[in-house]
């Protein structure tokens, strides 16, 4: 199936997890390695992305648009946009990171992983567990073994707020 066109620009529809549709220029999605391959090889006009929440998809499309407008003169502005972009609650940031990893948008993926790493930097293990809402699945014996072997891991910032 050939992708539909209006004038010169090819248009593509992305379907989010809750069936919400997003119509955008095909050139924008080429930043995603996954979508690029789909568009080039299969010549589709609509791509379902059931694993990605619409809210997450909105954010990612916002990034794709900004990134497409990037020129040497608005670099500074783009950097500020990136900073704001990852300034969301952790749950949302992780959703975005997982989606970006799936879509293979390489530059943004690096930036998101950096942002996640920044939130757990210099924190104690307990604090990171709280931030990530991870329950330790080690046995109490294993846990006390860790505490004995690497006491420094349990030191550090106990504060689990990240901003």
């Amino acid at each position: 199936m050939a992708s539909s066109t209006t004038g010169e620009k090819k248009i593509l529809t992305l379907k989010g997890g809750d069936n919400e549709e997003f119509i955008l220029e095909e050139s924008l999605v080429l930043q995603s390695e996954l979508l690029k391959n789909m568009v080039k090889e299969e010549r589709v006009s609509s791509i379902p992305l059931p694993s990605i929440k619409s809210k997450t998809l909105v954010k990612i499309i916002e990034y794709l648009k900004k990134h497409a407008e990037l020129t040497p003169s608005n670099k500074e502005e783009f950097k500020n946009f990136e900073k704001e972009f990852v300034n969301v609650v952790l749950e949302e940031l992780l959703d975005i990171t997982v989606a970006v990893n799936y879509l293979k948008i390489n530059g943004l993926l690096e930036f998101c992983c950096q942002a996640v790493a920044d939130r757990i930097k210099d924190k104690s293990v307990e604090a990171v567990r709280k931030i990530f809402r991870i329950e330790s699945d080690f046995t109490p014996e294993e846990e006390s073994e860790f505490r004995k072997e690497t006491p420094e891991a349990f030191e550090g910032d106990l504060d689990d707020t990240t901003n």
């Binding site: 990171t97 996640v116 930097k121 293990v125 990530f132 991870i134 891991a153």
Partner: protein, 451 residues
């Protein structure tokens, strides 16, 4: 409450860990079994070897990676452990490198900062790994594993090769570069055993950085080369030949005797040259004119006295650093010039009337300097009487200096000196680093002038 971080696939945990310091990342392995598993399969291995205990730990880790065939992306091993019989660990290091190479390592670094004795690395075996993209070696010996020209292997994947203080001879050097024809980035710093460093017949090379030892001559013939940094052994000898490097964008030359016409010719032919740094060059009897380059935007001259004339109409940044007031003439003021910095360290100058006049004349030559830094030393002689004469300005020109930074540590305060300074530089803004006495004297003197 869901376990948010448990939705992360292992490859993402690897990526997040790679943005943390190594110690910090190791700590995250205690978070949960998922994170422990991710840590145990982390594709980037960075080791610093300080003790025999470390040798055992590294050995265990690499044995596990070998047994489980866990992919390795980066392997970096730095040696800080010095002992006379370090050689007994060489077979172990061989095994580690083999595991890394077998498991698809892309970036391999082995750095021995103490080299007692140097690890005999087999370059043939290393390059035979078809996945390697970057190889970074410091303090190794490539000569203890014998080889012949039939050993040339095509390592088409290698893009970057760095050799710091590595022992190899000319023949080995040739074989090495014949083996990686698609190399892009080359670093050769202070390698022992080489007499001729020839960079030729490399179709993709873009960046070369060379620092030589005594009696090493260098020939670079690379039409694709864009970045060249060369640091010679002595400014008394001329060891560098640059042929057909017409794509150069950035050139840095240090510590070399430049023969007549060499630089002029190079600049004339390099139409894309944007950045030029000249450091401690001896320029012979003839002075040098850097003229007619349309492309040069950034020019930095450090400790080169012989440069007389600059004509670069598109220059954006000019920096000059030296101990003498330059004899430089900026032929046409570049309309683009945004930053012009002059840094003079007046180590052995006699600061008399003539010196300040010369400074004033030089600064007035071009319309403005954005930053002038003058550094004075205790042993500078000041002719107080002569400086008094400057109160009657004989030179009716006023230089424009936006910012004047002065560092001065004279033992005695000297108002006449301060007058001479302001007279010769005429700054809009002044930054002064000095002793308490000197600064007090300065403020008093300025108030005196104000009233």
């Amino acid at each position: 409450r869901t376990a948010t971080a448990e939705i992360l696939p292992e490859c993402l945990i690897h990526k997040i860990l790679s943005y943390l310091e190594y110690e910090e990342a190791a700590k995250m392995s205690i978070l949960s079994k998922t994170w422990l598993q991710a840590w145990l399969t982390h594709p980037n291995l960075l080791f610093r070897l300080y003790s025999e205990q470390d040798v055992k730990i590294i050995d265990q880790i690499l044995e596990r990676y070998g047994d489980t065939k866990t992919p390795i992306y980066m392997f970096e091993c730095s040696i800080y452990y010095r002992r006379y019989d370090f050689g007994k660990f060489f077979p172990l290091i061989d095994t580690w490198l083999t595991v890394a190479l077998n498991n698809g390592v892309k970036y391999l670094a082995y750095r021995d900062y103490l080299r007692s004795p140097s690890y005999p690395l087999s370059i043939v075996r290393t390059l035979a790994a078809k996945s390697l993209r970057e190889l970074d070696l410091e303090g190794c010996d490539l000569m203890r594993v014998s080889l012949s020209t039939s050993n040339v292997i095509n390592c088409n994947s290698l893009r970057k090769l760095s050799l710091h203080d590595v022992h190899l001879d000319d023949k080995m050097f040739q074989i090495l570069f014949a083996s990686c024809p698609l190399i892009v980035n080359i670093v050769i710093h202070h390698c022992v055993g080489l007499t001729e460093i020839e960079v030729r017949n490399l179709q993709k090379v873009k960046s070369v950085s060379i620092k030589t030892k005594k009696n090493q001559c260098v020939t670079i013939q690379a039409p694709t080369l864009e970045y060249l940094s060369y640091n010679g052994f002595s400014k008394e000898s001329s060891m560098l030949d640059i042929v057909e490097c017409w794509s150069l964008k950035s050139l840095e030359l240090s510590c070399e005797r430049i023969s007549d016409g060499f630089l002029e010719h190079l600049i004339f032919r390099s139409q894309f040259l944007e950045s030029l740094i000249l450091n401690s060059l001896s320029i012979g009897l003839e002075s040098i004119n850097l003229c007619g380059s349309q492309s040069i935007k950034f020019l930095k001259i450090l400790a080169c006295e012989g440069i007389r004339e600059i004509d670069a109409p598109n220059l954006v940044t000019l920096e000059y650093m030296g101990s003498q007031i330059p004899k430089l003439k900026l032929a046409k003021e570049s309309s683009q010039l945004k930053h012009s910095k002059l840094f003079l360290y007046c180590r052995n100058n006699i600061l008399n009337n003539a010196w300040f006049c010369e400074l004033k004349k030089f600064l007035s030559n071009s319309t403005s300097w954005s930053e002038v830094t003058l550094k004075f030393y205790q042993r500078n002689e000041i002719n107080r009487k002569e400086l008094q004469l400057l109160a009657n300005p004989q030179l009716n020109i006023y230089p424009q200096v936006d910012v004047l930074d002065v560092e001065i540590y004279l033992t005695r305060e000297c108002p006449a000196f301060l007058d001479a300074l302001l007279w010769s530089c005429h700054p809009t803004k002044l930054n002064l680093s000095s002793t308490y006495q000197m600064i007090t004297c300065f403020i008093d003197h300025l108030l005196y002038w104000k009233n």
